[in-house]
Amino acid sequence: MMDSECLSLLPAVCLVLADPKQSPPDDTSLEKLLDWFKALHSQSNGQVLLQHQPCLLEFISSVCTSKTTDPAILSFTLNLTGLLAATTQGFHLLDEGGLLACVFEREAWGVCDLWEDASVRSGWLQGLLNMLKHQQALDFMCGNGLIKVILQLQNDRSLFVACLANQLLVHILNFLTSSNMTNESDVVGSSESSLRPDCVLVSSEIMNAVVEVLSSEDHPQVLQGLRLLSLVLSQCGEPIRSTLWKDVLVPLEVLVNRGSESLIQTLITVLEAAVRTPLLSQSEHKVEELLEAMLGDGNRKECFQCAALIVKLEKCPEVLKRKAMDIIMFPLQCVSTQPQAEKEINVVLKEQLSQKASCISLLMQSLSSLAQLAHAKYLFEDISIHSITSSVVLLLRMCSGHCPSSLLHINTFTHLIGCCKVQRCGLDTLGALSVYEENLDLRMNVFGVLLDYLQSPDSHATVLKKTFQAVKRWIVCSPFPDLLQFISHDLFPVLEKRMCDLRWEVRDSTLEFITQLTAALNDNSGFTEALHTSGMVSVLLSSLADAEGYVRASAVAAVREAVTASFHQTVLVSNSKLLEEALVQMMAILSQDTEGFPRRAVVQTFTSWLKGSHLVTALESSLSSVLSLGGNDFDWEVKMHTLELAEVLMEKTLTCCPYAVQNFGSSEETRFTQALIKFKDFGLFDLLFNSLFDCDRPVCERACALLVKLRTLTAETADLDHSVLVLNVCGNRWGDEVQRRYLNKQQAKASVCVTNGVTGSDDGMDCGLYCIKDISLPKILQILDLDDMQRMLMLSSDHVVNSPRSLMEDILSAAQQSEENIVDCY
């Protein structure tokens, strides 16, 4: 329906676009138009479109032959033509009149110079890419010598064009190997012979070009060649992949051994792609050898990058990985171990470590590789995990100005003092290393350095955050009883101070840390007890009044976890007092706080408490205020969270119904009715109906979903007593809306009755035309056409503005306006 309307506008749009006097619409409009064509194309087939819309053919030919075409329009046309020619029928229609050749052979264009514009070249490539869906398209490209042009465009000065050319070449190679192009009889073999002879011609033209480029001395060309190679490796299948690899192996070896610095990154990308293919496991393909050659003797600048890559590989020969490990660990060991390792340090490394920038980047590479390995719990064999961890600890100490073990690295040392980058990276790594049990006896050492960081007045906020993460990881994985002393005597006082920090970010991350720690250890009675006895809880409560909204929100979360934890440990006496105090402050935040974050956190807290089983009865008295405050909040996210709370409340009540007096023999129905009565008391229905008519679409959507659920339940409960659940619909917004809809329905019914000539005193009629005060819940749910509302709400709010129809209208009206403007000028 929509499309047919658009199609009727198409001829006019084509005229506007082809009109050289009109300035072309902006790029995004053209892109959107193309998107629409693409969608149309995928739905039907091109033939239909072209046959029914001859204006398209006219448009294409007029653009190509025009002497004054705009590059943007030409690019669009190239793209479009490719799209239309993607089906064989479309291809034939375009080819019949020689239009296709006219489009893709630039000598045939009205203005040859337009080729100089990068957007035109890009459109040309994109068009071919769109078209290459069938054999004829390939034949067309080969027959007109377009492959050569594509290969030239590989080295285009525009990066976008060069990249697109590479993609097209890969697409061509892939197309050659797709099933319709191979000899059915010989699918099993994976040699070149399985390609049809004409295909072999094309593929070898491309591959030869790659080999030639890689052997050339022209640096940018080699770079493009390598890029294409890595694309082929990652995107093409057999036999193309191994054929090409065999061909390029020799020049590739030369490039690797030459070790040219600017090619390193790209060479690594190629090897990275090769490693992910089966080529790696076939020794004749020498992937491993190349990797090893890249590593060299560890005395070249690039070997660190390569080692970092190898270390990350999942399927990698162990020998190679170990060699890479050695290299990657070198900088770290070098900086942080005893002088006896000194003699092994190579010259390049030494030089790099003495310069600040390279020293930092090397160490970070070393650390992050280590962290990655630790995340996968890699088993280090040559180096003990113990010594690695000690090195990281030592490095972190050096970063905070402690003396290095050997004064030989005094230069490196001064680069590291206060270097946040290395600190953050080191802390991440240290955190990751917590997974190894072997480190257990280093624990106090680790906690020592972490505590130093937490205490240091110079620690940057981001460094502190990382420190907190590391502390949490080490605490969670350590055996507990020994740690209690550390936590209550060392950690808590520091946290207390950090909660008075000048920087709100620090206060915030401290609270976040406490929240996470409490959540992680909530079944640990020792920790919970320490939390309560050390006075931390009262500090948390006082943070609820922090000046910064984000901090208050985090404090709410921290108090939430503290309360939850205390209820896990029923032995504590102070629980109910804590909960009481927390509730008072949280309700104050929900009703008075000027910022959204803390209010959101409060509602989330209630949801979380309600989800847990311990707190339900204690919360009952506050729930109705939370629902009403949250539902009337002006922050849409608070409302969303309130609806989530409502959902949890509904689920909890309807599944176990803790509020209902569990009479023996009380039926499902009575229980359900009782639950509904409870909901009414909580003000749940007010919340849902108000939210249904909220100004924020997501809120309405959510409320609608909940109401639909409720409707299903009421419908399922057959003998529900409607009179029990009557809601007053007067005097509130949603009630008015329900009344309006109710009256509309009644009127419609009445008019049907009148036309049918039915008169008489139907009592439904009489009362229906008057305003009513009370309607039962099932009735209301019925009156509201929830399904229709839900369908409307599902559409995104800009669905009208974003339609292709409005796009076309925009193009047309813009053209009209510009005409008017011209008239105005006279």
Binding site: G401, C403, P404, L407, I410, F413, T414, I417, S456, P457, D458, S459, E496, K497, R498, C500, D501, L502, R503, W504, V539, S542, A545, D546, A547, E548
Partner: protein
């Protein structure tokens, strides 16, 4: 040019520069750390201090019970605290022409220098430096005079006795030069010699040199100085800061192109970053107040306290401590708070612009208005009736040896709820606390020193590129406690010249030029002739007049017409006879053309010999030698005057005459 170093203290410098004909003293800081050897002076009778046992040597041979008291294993002098003065014997202080003051902390020894030494010169300082310096001196005098001590302890200073004393007292140096505090009368007399200057104002000293103060960014009115003649420039950098605090930012570009840069007053705590310390200060303060304790901040009555109050002004509300009172107790508290608000032109741009609104530049005005900050001259009087706990007290002296702080130490020291937060970097906090041991109160050390750190200074030096740097010795090596921190020292090329107390340095540059003025009429009479492109030369005959270190070339007075009197005047009174000077020659005698010229003039037999400096021509027939050298030509010709003259004229043909 020489530099006499009268103080080795890097941040309390006192140096004397002899430059051209002037003698300039650069700062006169007073090292008050000697006070740490003394017992505190309590404002209110302290039973604890008065009951301390006197010290007797173990064998009982030396009994100094009255002079020395023992407290927690340390011995203190029970007398009025004394200070270590700048060296007075290195040069005659009466010869000092001027004293340049860079900031109010570096002038505390002024009365010792200007009074009773025969000093007759002028002291130059900016207005805030003078006014706040006066406040600090007044405060010091009041602290001392409020608690008079009947006897001054001197026996312990006896070399033989001191040698046998325990602990740090034994190692105290130059104890005989320590002096007790000056009087208010001396302060007034010293300060009456101060002449006020403004930033960038040029002050001529005897026509010989010009001195200019530049903003140094450290404190209100703090300055660096430029001392320059026409061809030499010495920069004196003392107590500068690049941080954005209340004073006007540091002026750096004028320090460029210095021949010598004297660098003093870097941060005393290079490992403590002021921002981190400020954060530490606030969080410790908040923690103590939340737990119901009091906070004691021993500090000077001007300087960092303004920044602390400003920081707390914002922090207290955000930390929910809005109702906690701040007390600022000092004899000069009121003046200090009020002075800070009136020196608008000396403040940073941000604060200056507030004055135009008009608003007080510092927020402590608002704290006072809302009764959050109260200030009192002393703990006696109103304070005792209005005092409410928990509270924050700012008071002096940071050495904890005198001033109202002594009382709070006695009052609050016993409770672990209270906290003392040290913010001034001048004193070791452990030494300061020594006479109060055992102490239950928490101690936090947050030294806030906004002066340049080594990183900033090396950047600054890279930028301004002085030819030579002179600095106190400690700056040339890592701090003794952290020998591995090679980043905490000055590493320069050429290496800086280091000084210590009593050093006399010859500054490494020779004066090579002096500016001389030509009078216009003399200039008009000159006849310049171009000797090569762009360079013209003229001869001058004139009389050089030197007066007030200015040099002027005047035309030679014409001989007075001979008076008709027949009396003969004395020969001496006659003006000198003016002879027309012989023209000056310039140029070189080229060998080949000269030989050609000789040939033309009939001298054909010439033997040319090449030498290291030129050539020797032997005219064999005439037996004459002509030596042609780069800067001399000799004709050696015996008994043939006409030939010599002819040859001379031939040589002269190749030369230019002026």
């Amino acid at each position: 040019m020489k530099l006499y170093c009268l103080s080795g203290h890097p941040t309390l410098p006192c140096n004397v520069l002899k430059f051209k004909s002037t003698t300039i003293m650069l700062d006169c800081g007073l090292d008050t750390t000697a006070a740490l050897y003394f017992l505190p002076l309590p404002l209110v009778h302290s039973p604890r201090l008065s009951k301390l046992p006197g010290w007797v040597s173990k064998d009982g041979a030396i009994n100094l019970e009255k002079e020395l008291k023992e407290c927690s294993g340390r011995v203190f002098v029970d007398s009025q605290p004394e200070f270590c003065l700048p060296e007075k014997e290195l040069l005659d202080l009466s010869t000092i022409d001027v004293i340049l003051i860079s900031n109010y902390h570096c002038m505390m020894a002024l009365p010792y220098i200007t009074e009773h030494t025969g000093f007759t010169g002028t002291v130059y300082a900016t207005e805030p430096t003078l006014q706040i310096g006066r406040l600090l001196m007044e405060e010091l005098v009041t602290f001392m005079e409020r608690v008079p001590k009947a006897h001054a302890a001197t026996c312990w200073k006896n070399k033989e006795i001191q040698r046998l004393l325990p602990g740090p007292l034994k190692d105290a140096v130059d104890v005989w030069s320590w002096r007790k505090c000056y009087s208010m009368q001396e302060v007034n007399s010293a300060l009456s010699k101060v002449q006020l200057v403004g930033y960038s104002q040029k002050v001529e000293l005897f026509g010989a040199v010009q001195v200019t103060p530049l903003s140094s960014g450290y404190s209100l009115g703090s300055s660096n100085w430029i001392i320059q003649s026409h061809y030499e420039k010495v920069s004196y950098v003392s107590g500068s800061s690049l941080l954005t605090t209340h004073p006007q930012p540091m002026e750096q570009s004028s320090l460029k192109n210095s021949d010598v840069l004297i660098l003093t007053g870097l941060t005393q705590i290079p490992t403590a970053n002021p921002d981190g310390m400020l954060g530490e200060f606030c969080s410790n303060l908040a923690m103590t107040i939340r737990a119901g304790g009091n906070v004691l901040v021993p500090c000077y009555s001007s300087g960092v306290i303004y920044d602390l109050l400003e920081c707390l002004y914002q922090f207290m509300d955000s930390a929910n401590l809005g109702t906690t009172p701040f007390y600022f107790i000092s004899p000069v508290a009121n003046s200090s708070l009020e002075f800070s608000q009136i020196f608008a032109e000396w403040l940073c741009q941000n604060k200056q612009s507030k004055v135009y609104l008009p608003e007080p530049p510092f927020p402590h005005a608002e704290l006072i208005q809302t009764n959050k900050l109260k200030h009192y001259p002393s703990i006696h009087g109103d304070f005792s009736s209005e005092f409410r706990q928990p509270c924050v007290v700012f008071t002096g002296h940071p050495s904890l040896r005198f001033g109202d702080v002594v009382h709070f130490m006695e009052l609050w020291g016993k409770s672990s709820l209270n906290t003392i937060i040290f913010t001034e970097p001048d004193f070791s906090y452990l030494d300061a606390l020594a006479p109060y041991q055992p102490l239950a109160m928490k101690c936090v050390y947050c030294p806030i020193d906004t002066r340049l750190n080594f990183h900033q200074v090396s950047k600054l030096l890279k930028d301004i590129q002085p030819l030579h740097v002179v600095c106190p010795e400690p700056y040339t090596q890592p701090p003794p406690a952290q020998p591995h921190r090679s980043d905490l020292m000055l590493e320069l090329q050429p290496p800086p010249m280091a000084y210590r107390r009593c050093s006399v340095l010859g500054l490494p540059f020779r004066r090579r030029y002096e500016r001389i003025h030509l009078l216009p009429e003399l200039a008009r009479s000159l006849v310049p002739s171009e000797i090569k492109a762009g360079v013209s030369v003229a001869t001058v005959s004139a009389v050089l007049q030197s007066k007030d270190n200015k040099h002027v070339l005047q035309p030679v007075p014409k001989p007075a017409p001979v008076p008709p009197s027949k009396k003969r005047k004395r020969v001496m009174e006659e003006p000198p006879e003016v002879l027309n000077p012989k023209p000056l020659l310039s140029g070189a005698v080229p060998l080949e053309p000269f030989l050609a010229m000789l040939h033309k003039n009939g001298i054909t037999e010439v033997k040319v010999e090449e030498t290291a400096d030129g050539h020797i021509l032997h005219l064999q027939t005439e037996d004459v030698l002509i030596q042609l050298e780069e800067d001399a030509t000799h004709i050696i010709c015996d008994n043939n005057e006409p030939l010599r003259t002819a040859l001379r004229d031939l040589v002269l043909r190749f030369l230019q005459k002026l």
